[in-house]
């Protein structure tokens, strides 16, 4: 049995919020152990002085000193989990600064999260899984070429994607809305195989990712079942042909968003979530429905409009819908409303998530929402940079899975 991955916890408040057990449970389910770096009182005083951030909270002081002990190598860890209460301004500052500090001064993967008392182990699972993957599978994540014939299946909350790859080329794709998880996957797989002109027997290894990864992985007998943070990072830099150096990957999904700071194809820091569905693909789907257009038409429609003409800066899908309905009732054009919806989602991702990672160019947008031209445009304007949308960007998880799965072909 392999050694448990040791994740250092830097936190303020989880025990008093009643979520410490959830953190332990999430770690346990990915065969990791969470521990608190052991330091002396003198280290706290010295650490806080040296770090230069004069906070009032004693637990935050302790976090700073523990982070310094990790960076200085006084305490061994494989990854770092930073967690503080949602809504605490002082903790948000410390969380952000420590993540940056650890990222810049060590090779430790870091994930951070602001929790409420309703945070569950399930919510934390993907983040813990990503931390352990980076620690355990660095060799696999270093893979830059797909070999043999492999398949990747991404069972997302909105859509299920399948990709067949052969000798570093995408030879088949399938895309179906996620209804019944297994059925949708079967349909996507059948389409991808048909396009590739191959059969299931030809496939040498399978990788799965996304919300339904465990169920689909079991059903297909997958060789690799992997969360989407590492898979998408790998897929993004592969498709964008930027496997070396720094990059930033943005994936605005149906349920949640991922912003990942990538170095040589391996996630360094990442955030996952978003406070509300107002900042997700679901909101754009809903907007398209209300405007009476297909989701594929929303992007071109938004490009014709002026988002600034419509006030829409909601942090909630319900209030966002309200803004949308009000704007239409007040006579705003559909183009302007579409542009405002795209801008609203981009702005929320920018404010809530991109502030928490270091943006390094190129910025690569992936996932189904990267095909919405208006959204990519809005994000580019906010970040003041050219956004890269690689070919097949909507299949990112499936491509990443197929690429990594080739590490499991017998004899590899």
């Amino acid at each position: 049995m392999s050694r448990k991955v040791r994740i250092a916890q830097l936190s303020c408040g989880p025990e008093y919020s009643g979520v410490q057990k959830e953190i332990y449970d999430a770690a346990e389910s990915v065969d990791a152990e969470v521990f608190f770096p052991d330091i002396a009182l003198a280290d706290v005083e010295r650490g806080v002085d040296a770090f230069g951030l004069d906070v009032r909270s004693a637990d935050l002081k302790l976090m700073i000193a523990r982070a310094m002990a990790l960076v200085e190598g006084k305490v061994d860890a494989d990854g770092v989990f930073i967690g503080t209460c949602f809504r605490c301004a002082e903790a948000a500052i410390v969380r952000n600064e420590l993540r940056r500090y650890i990222h810049e001064n060590s090779r430790l993967p870091v994930v951070s999260y602001s929790f409420t008392e309703r945070t569950t182990a399930g919510t934390l699972l993907t983040r813990m899984e990503a931390l352990t993957t980076i620690a355990r599978r660095r060799a696999l994540l270093a893979r830059e070429e797909q070999t043999g014939i492999t398949m990747g299946v991404d069972s997302g909350s909105s859509t299920t994607k399948a990709v067949v790859m052969k000798d570093n080329e995408i030879v088949g794709t399938g895309w179906h809305p996620t209804t019944e998880v297994i059925k949708s996957a079967e349909s996507a797989v059948a389409d991808a195989l048909e396009m590739a002109g191959l059969t299931r027997e030809d496939i040498q290894a399978i990788g799965t990712t996304g919300y339904g990864r465990f169920l689909i992985g079991k059903h297909l007998g997958a060789d690799l079942v992997q969360e989407e943070l590492t898979v998408n990072s790998k897929g993004a830099v592969y498709l964008a042909d930027h496997q070396q150096g720094s990059a930033t990957v943005i994936d605005i999904g149906g349920m949640d968003n991922k912003a990942i700071s990538v170095i040589d194809g391996i996630p360094g820091t990442f955030t996952m979530g978003g406070i509300c569905a107002g900042a997700s693909g679901r909101f754009l789907e809903m907007t398209a429905k209300r405007l009476g257009v297909d989701i594929t038409e929303l992007g071109p429609l938004a490009m014709k409009g002026m988002g600034k003409n419509v006030p829409m800066n909601s942090y909630c899908i319900v209030f966002g819908t309200q803004s949308l309905v009000n704007a239409l009732a007040a006579g705003s054009s559909r183009e302007d409303v579409a542009a405002a919806a795209c801008h609203s989602v981009a702005e929320q991702v920018f404010e809530q998530q991109l502030q928490e990672i270091d943006i390094k160019e190129p910025v690569i947008m992936v996932g189904g929402t990267s095909l919405i031209e208006g959204l990519v445009h809005a994000m580019g304007q906010l970040l003041q940079t050219e956004i890269v949308v690689p070919p097949h960007s909507q299949y990112i998880g499936a491509v990443g899975s197929a690429l990594l799965a080739s590490g499991f072909i017998k004899g590899e």
Binding site: G13, E15, S17, G18, S57, D59, C88, F115, E117
Partner: protein
């Protein structure tokens, strides 16, 4: 004997001083002890469950971070029970770290609002101040009613 809330509530020295001079200290040890000694299904016993931040709503609004509300679920009832309080400001971490600064502000504010007799002291920085510190605590405690609940 009066029930005296101590701040920092984790200070063993303050707790000891209050008990030594004949009163009952109300602090973190008491609040946590009650939780871990109450029979329940959790094993090992949890100091805090997700229910606590909900109970803490009595002392802090829902907009307040969950960790503050969870802490207030422990300290709030003790503050309500208190008949006097000793507040030590600018205390060293080792004297009784209280973790969350926002909770600390709320605790001190709640105590000041409660109308009970309060002794506020600055944490001593040398031996002479230390002696004066203990003398002030003793004088304050001597002035408190000896009978529980007495005026």
């Amino acid at each position: 004997m009066a029930k005296v809330f101590i701040y920092p509530a984790t200070s063993l020295i303050l707790s000891d001083l209050v008990a030594r001079f004949g009163h009952k200290p109300l602090g973190a040890a008491l609040g946590i002890r009650e939780r871990i000694q109450t029979a329940g299904v959790d094993s090992p016993p949890l100091q805090i469950t997700p229910e606590e931040p909900k109970r803490g709503l009595k002392y802090a609004a829902v907009e307040v971070p969950s960790g503050v509300r969870g802490r207030m679920a422990i300290y709030g009832p003790l503050i309500e029970e208190a008949e006097a309080a000793i507040i030590v400001t600018d205390a060293d971490l080792a004297f009784g770290c209280m973790g969350c600064a926002r909770t600390d502000e709320l605790i001190v504010f709640s105590l000041r609002q409660s109308g009970i007799p309060i002794l506020e002291l600055k944490y001593p920085s040398n031996e002479e101040e230390g002696v004066q510190f203990v003398a002030a605590v003793r004088k304050f405690l001597d002035g408190l009613p000896e009978e529980e609940g007495g005026a």
